[in-house]
């Protein structure tokens, strides 16, 4: 158990463990025996290890859903719903800007320079991006595109949706938290039996 100390601390601090931000600990959590050991330890704390379908991310869930737990979960859910649209809009915009369709899986890389160039060169995209940057989630008050870009990416990094491999580089890697977000919308779509058409048209690119 001793060697899992740092991992436990991370988990208890509310971190999501994915292979992009913490490869070694993610590998440990893929081992069922280790998960069982940690779960034994977590039981008195009313916690257990949980994951999503593709196991790209691990986090702590409540073992027993008492009133206090439900109270916390309700607050979390409100937050998730509140910031769902700006995050999804950012993903949509990014896909349109980069013209590359493979940017929304864990490990995909976004080149900030390429992204900036592409937004700059397209008035419609730039307008949409500025509007998005001023959203409560990204919270940029600047009218300068460079500052807006900086703020949006910083916010995404702070919230662990993106991970910067080297401090001074322009490359961002998508983390497991995006997978988590995708699973949330998949679930909501199923549960609410949202009548969203499978063939709905994308917003026009230009």
């Amino acid at each position: 158990m001793l060697e899992h100390g740092p991992l436990l601390t991370e988990l208890l601090a509310g971190k999501s463990i994915c292979k992009i931000t913490d490869e070694e600990n993610h590998r440990r959590l893929q081992n069922e025996t280790i998960r069982e050991d940690i779960n034994k330890y977590l039981r008195p704390l009313n916690r257990r290890i949980a994951t999503i379908k593709n196991e790209s991310v691990y986090f702590l869930a409540y073992q027993e859903l008492n009133a206090e737990a439900r109270n916390h979960l309700a607050k979390e859910f409100d937050q998730t719903i509140k910031f769902l649209l700006p995050l999804l809009e950012w993903m949509q915009l990014t896909q349109e800007a980069l013209g590359d369709d493979s940017v929304f899986s864990i490990e995909d890389i976004i080149d900030l320079y390429k992204y900036a160039r592409s937004i700059e060169s397209n008035q419609a995209l730039q307008k949409r991006f500025s509007k998005l940057a001023s959203n409560r989630f990204f919270n940029s008050s600047s009218s300068d595109l460079q500052n807006q870009l900086k703020q949006v990416f910083k916010k995404l990094e702070d919230n662990n949706y993106l991970h910067k491999l080297h401090k001074d580089q322009q490359y961002y890697i998508i983390t497991g938290k995006i997978e988590y977000l995708i699973e949330i919308i998949e679930f909501i779509k199923e549960e609410e039996s949202l009548q969203i058409e499978e063939t709905a048209q994308q917003e026009p690119m230009f």
Binding site: L73, S102, K189, E192
Partner: protein, 414 residues
């Protein structure tokens, strides 16, 4: 023999013509490449004579009178292959026609053998070797071309629907190649060779080895294509999901979601627990840690007496704060020293907490006990033998043997 002479003559004619036409391609490579990219040949870029030469050489052609000159499909293919231009490269392998030719050549060969025409035997064997080589080489190129597409992740088209279409095409092509390989009937070829060991080595042994290699490479490429297709489909589904959800949320800004956190079964994705801070405090209940901790205590802010005049220019607020902390600490130290003086005079067990209360000292109990311990630790070792210093502990957690010092009892034991 006459037939062989004419064959040689034909070959030299062919050679001369080929060289001439290849030269033509070389000489007008710039204009031809422009035509490859633009899709039509700029007829003003060369003289009418050259234009006619290029048409006669089967390099350019005019599909119909209303259209401009274009590269012949074969030339287009040649350039695509030379430049590894995956958009235009095509799968060419046709196995049945070379097989017919091989069949015919074998008949020529055995015929020549029967007539003791040795030059003919050599010539037809050479042609056969070349034909077999051409066929396997073509197949091998086509398979390599599929591998290239795969390795490039279909990066030569840049949207997902195109990638999916390209992948579908590549899968069809691989199936086509696979069907082609199945046409090669080694039993038939075996019979065809009629116990001629040279022919059998060429048409059965070597060819079978080569075809089996190509076959496994092809099966692998097919499997990889299929896997990549699954990835493409997953991405496509994901994009559609994102786009549709955005559209839905925009159209229904006040949509009431179900109360997932209060369901009897909360899905894991909505069951992300609150964080727990694994904080730690100084604990003096473990003997082995005590020396380290007393080191830390000794390195705490120095006394007021040692304090030098604060710098004239500086942050007033910070210095006052440090001074006030030091002053407080000095007071605490003095009170603890007084407590020790008091206890040395007593001949009974003295409780540090009771002393604190009786003397109405305004120290936090924990801080007080902490300083009493520090003072005791700071005493010379020979004093330690004379004092019975007892920590009254209480176990607070069964899980990690955490104990809290509730009080300290002291008595002189001499």
């Amino acid at each position: 023999m006459v037939a062989n002479k004419s064959t040689t003559k034909n070959q030299s004619l062919l050679h001369a013509q080929g060289v001439k036409r290849l030269n033509l391609i070389g000489k007008y490579s710039t204009q031809l490449m422009d035509a490859y990219i633009k899709g039509f040949f700029d007829e003003d870029s060369v003289s009418v004579g050259i234009l006619n030469n290029l048409v006669d050489a089967r390099i350019l052609y005019r599909p119909d009178a209303t259209q401009g000159l274009k590269l012949r499909p074969d030339v287009n293919k040649l350039i695509a292959n030379l430049t590894e231009d995956e958009r235009k490269r095509q799968i060419n392998a046709d196995v049945s026609s070379p097989l017919y030719e091989i069949n015919t050549l074998v008949e020529h060969y055995t015929d020549a053998q029967r007539k003791d025409n040795y030059i003919g035997v050599d010539y037809y064997f050479y042609s056969l070797t070349e034909k077999v080589h051409d066929m396997t080489e073509q197949l091998s190129n086509d398979i390599e071309f599929l591998w290239n597409k795969l390795h490039a992740d279909f990066g030569f088209v840049n949207n997902l629907s195109d990638k999916i279409r390209e992948n579908e095409l590549a899968q069809k092509q691989s199936q086509h190649l696979l069907n082609g390989l199945k046409i090669i009937d080694f039993n038939y070829l075996f019979e065809l060779t009629q116990n001629n060991s040279k022919l059998r080595k060429l048409l059965v042994v070597d060819l079978q080895k080569k075809i089996s290699e190509l076959h496994s490479s092809l099966l692998e490429v097919q499997e990889r294509l299929l896997n990549l297709m699954l990835v493409f489909r997953k991405q496509q589904k994901r994009l559609l999901l994102i786009n549709n959800m955005v559209a839905f949320l925009k159209q229904n800004p006040n949509f009431e979601f179900r109360d997932y956190p209060n369901r009897s079964n909360v899905p894991d994705i909505f069951n992300k627990a609150a964080s727990i801070n694994a904080s730690a405090n100084i604990a003096l209940d473990r003997l082995s840690d005590q020396s380290v901790l007393s080191e830390i205590v000794r390195s705490l802010p120095a006394s007021v007496e040692n304090h030098v005049e604060p710098l004239e220019v500086g942050n007033d607020f910070e210095t006052t704060e440090i001074i006030s902390v030091s002053v407080e600490y000095e007071k605490l130290k003095k009170d603890v020293t007084k407590f020790f003086e008091y206890f040395i005079e007593q001949n009974v067990i003295v409780s540090a907490l009771v002393y604190l209360q009786n003397n109405k000292l305004d120290w936090d109990a924990e801080l007080w006990l902490f300083q009493v311990i520090a003072e005791y630790e700071g005493l010379a070792q020979n004093f330690h033998q004379d004092i019975k210093f007892e920590k009254k502990k209480k176990i607070v957690s069964a899980f990690n043997q955490l104990e809290i010092i509730q009080d300290i009892h002291l008595i002189i034991v001499v």
